[in-house]
Symmetry: C2
Subunit: 217 residues, 2 copies
Amino acid sequence: MPQTKTSQVKNKEQTKAKILAAVGEVLAEDGYQGLGVNRIAKQAGLAKTLIYRYFGGLEGLIQAYGETDSFWPSVDEIRGMPEAEFKHLPLRERCRTIFRNFRIALKKRPHTVAIYAWEMVENNELTKGLIASRTQSSLNLVKEMMGQNHVEMTDYDHEITAMLGAALLHLTIRESLKSPFAGLDLDQQATWDRFDGALETVFTAIETLYKTKQGSQ
Amino acid sequence: MPQTKTSQVKNKEQTKAKILAAVGEVLAEDGYQGLGVNRIAKQAGLAKTLIYRYFGGLEGLIQAYGETDSFWPSVDEIRGMPEAEFKHLPLRERCRTIFRNFRIALKKRPHTVAIYAWEMVENNELTKGLIASRTQSSLNLVKEMMGQNHVEMTDYDHEITAMLGAALLHLTIRESLKSPFAGLDLDQQATWDRFDGALETVFTAIETLYKTKQGSQ
DNA sequence: TATTTATGTTACCAGTTGGTTACATAATTT
DNA sequence: AAATTATGTAACCAACTGGTAACATAAATA
């Protein structure tokens, strides 16, 4: 007697959604290392054949996953307040707000952090695609931080924010691994409060320098 | 007729050295993903059995590799000049020097960058051991940067340097992957010159703030 | 020189990977 | 109701992984 499965439901869209959801679950559990057809199919409780049939393989699946919304935090979420209110904050406060909210957004999205980590260590067609599709949005974030008609404070505004953004990303990834950095315990909220203090100090210093330069002109 | 190898030389220490060297070669070629007994043995041109016999397995091998000197850059190399000369530089210049030399040192050591990248994405017994064995040396680096009898400029000196260090590491790893960051091309020397300018700006601003505070006391 | 020990190789093991083919069954159409 | 199509499963493939056991041979010792 061949296998008689009890009430096997068939629904294409629902199955595709299950597979996409499984990608997120695997990322959250095992990180990008778990991203294989076998592991994902197992997580979804489906046969891996469906990944090839519906997405053309692992590559197509990851690409489709990267395009799902609610994956990357929106600019609104990062801003955390109405635009009208935000744009009147001094640069210092805008930066601090964005950095703080970005970190909170990532804490809610372990799968997103896993993707960031993945992009750190592999440069294949998959990660290239993911990076490219996010570059514009990250540039928008910088623009948001600087303000629309942004008056440069230094000649290196973009580099300074890029460096601090890189630092934030780096520290967030290490936090997700529960591994320390430079002797600092990233699991402690106090540590992050001190990073916030450091940011405030840096931007205050830059503002002061800017005013000094302006005054002497 | 069974295999008759022509002149098989046998020398334990030399063989161990070959295996350790192979680890570095694999790291430079394939990154940490290549760190498997099969791949390493193939690279060394030896049987993987020897890894188990001489190092007790992959874990012991990596641990032994991490303890080889000439792997991590020395404090002298990072300082790049006699200590007597270095210690009289202003904080701003000390930091810039260390950041620049650290990056140069990493460019010469692709295997070290691969290890850093590995530590970014996995937290197993291997990477934990590697991180722990380097923590002290990284703290020494910060001390070197700050100077012996270091007068704090801000309440957040350690956090600021840690963040900028994280940024440097992050950008260096991405450079090694030839993947962009925030729209910046890390392959261009000009980009790194601008990062240097950004660093100078930040530290100059902090120094200025510091003097202002001192003056008003 | 004969024997023992240390060193290196080959062959195999079970488990996992990405990927394909053959098949079963639910849903839809005729 | 019968035939067809869409959807899901199971079984298999070759290639790889970490790990071990059996064997060969060079080097050291008796």
